[in-house]
Amino acid sequence: MTIHAITVLGHDRPGIIADTTARLAGLGLNLEDSTMTRLRGHFAMTLLCAGEATTEAIRADLAPIAADGTLTVTVYDLPDEQTQAGDGRPFVLSVHGGDRPGIVSTVTAEIAAVGGNITDLTTRLSGDLYVLVAELELPADADVAVLESSVKRVTQELGVDATLRPIEADDL
């Protein structure tokens, strides 16, 4: 089974999701993981779907969505990878402060340096305020205190604040 990665990006308007997913369903594609949101007023959608339709057929079928030039649609094939449940420990990192270049790259470099994997990340620019919220998995042998102090050090140099907290799942 081929996994197709489809992105739709551009001017937001009602009906983008309904139109796109109806066309995918018409091709016999099963919508799997997806993320759909608005970024500074633009609509941004990435979705993975599985099915026998060819990439060329999907591109042709989705072409009318982008016909007025306000949306960009891309279709690529991906290898089917099964998610491995790791032994990483989940954390959430909040960073906020005055907007300036380099906040994301500097902070994420510290996470990468200890083998941490970012699984989800959102940034928002609100006036002068820049906010980053990241969910990450740290390896079982990673020293959280060392990461916390290195993140504090680099964020202080950037003049922004950072908070690293474990994610607590309440299993019922």
Partner: protein
């Protein structure tokens, strides 16, 4: 839930001074990120600040609490009034607490909250819905304990966070828990 009658009966008339409406500062102002200093609840400047906080809260639509760092003063004092809010269960009316701290917290619940100092964003934050807080009343300096729940508990934790230099952004539940504000009051 047993109400603290002393706090419930407290009104800003006890302050004996008129409050002045102050400008509310917005993130990324540095004062919002610094733990506030303990205050002397009996000091005239503390009493005046208490009156100013209430005056500023009163003229701000939807405002149910305001901490000193939000008006640019790095001090551990805030005012609260959740009496008119739809999510409120227990409440103690309008009051000001100095040097407040959480004594007991339990029954976490997640809800979306905003802040006058972060006007364009909201966030989903898990906070205790049963809470005991200890602080001091302005003018007399008497120590009071407030046991409360629901929205007053959330508001108190939000304001105490301010006195410790924390914003709700520091506590959002995850990458999808930060939102562009949809409604302005």
């Amino acid at each position: 839930m047993t109400l603290n009658q002393r706090v419930l009966e407290w009104t800003e008339a006890e302050l004996g001074v008129e409050g002045t409406v102050l400008e509310v500062v917005r993130a990324p102002a540095q004062v919002l990120s610094v733990p506030g200093k303990d205050v002397d609840p009996t000091a005239p400047e503390t009493v005046q600040l208490a009156a100013d906080l209430i005056a500023t809260m009163r003229v701000s639509p939807g405002c149910v609490g305001l901490a000193a760092d939000q008006v640019g003063v790095s001090a551990r004092i805030f005012c609260v009034d959740v009496s008119g809010h739809v999510k409120t269960k227990t409440h103690h009316g309008t009051y000001v607490l100095c040097n407040a701290e959480v004594v007991e917290a339990s029954r976490n619940e997640k809800a979306r909250e905003g802040c006058m100092s972060v006007p364009d964003l909201t966030g989903d934050v898990k906070r205790a819905s049963r809470l005991k807080v200890r602080g001091q009343l302005p003018v007399t300096g008497e120590t009071v304990e407030i046991v409360t729940d629901a929205f007053e508990a959330r508001c108190l934790q939000h304001e105490i966070d301010h006195t410790n230099g924390l914003l709700f952004i520091d506590r959002v539940a995850g990458a999808h828990a930060l939102h562009q504000r949809q409604t302005y009051l």
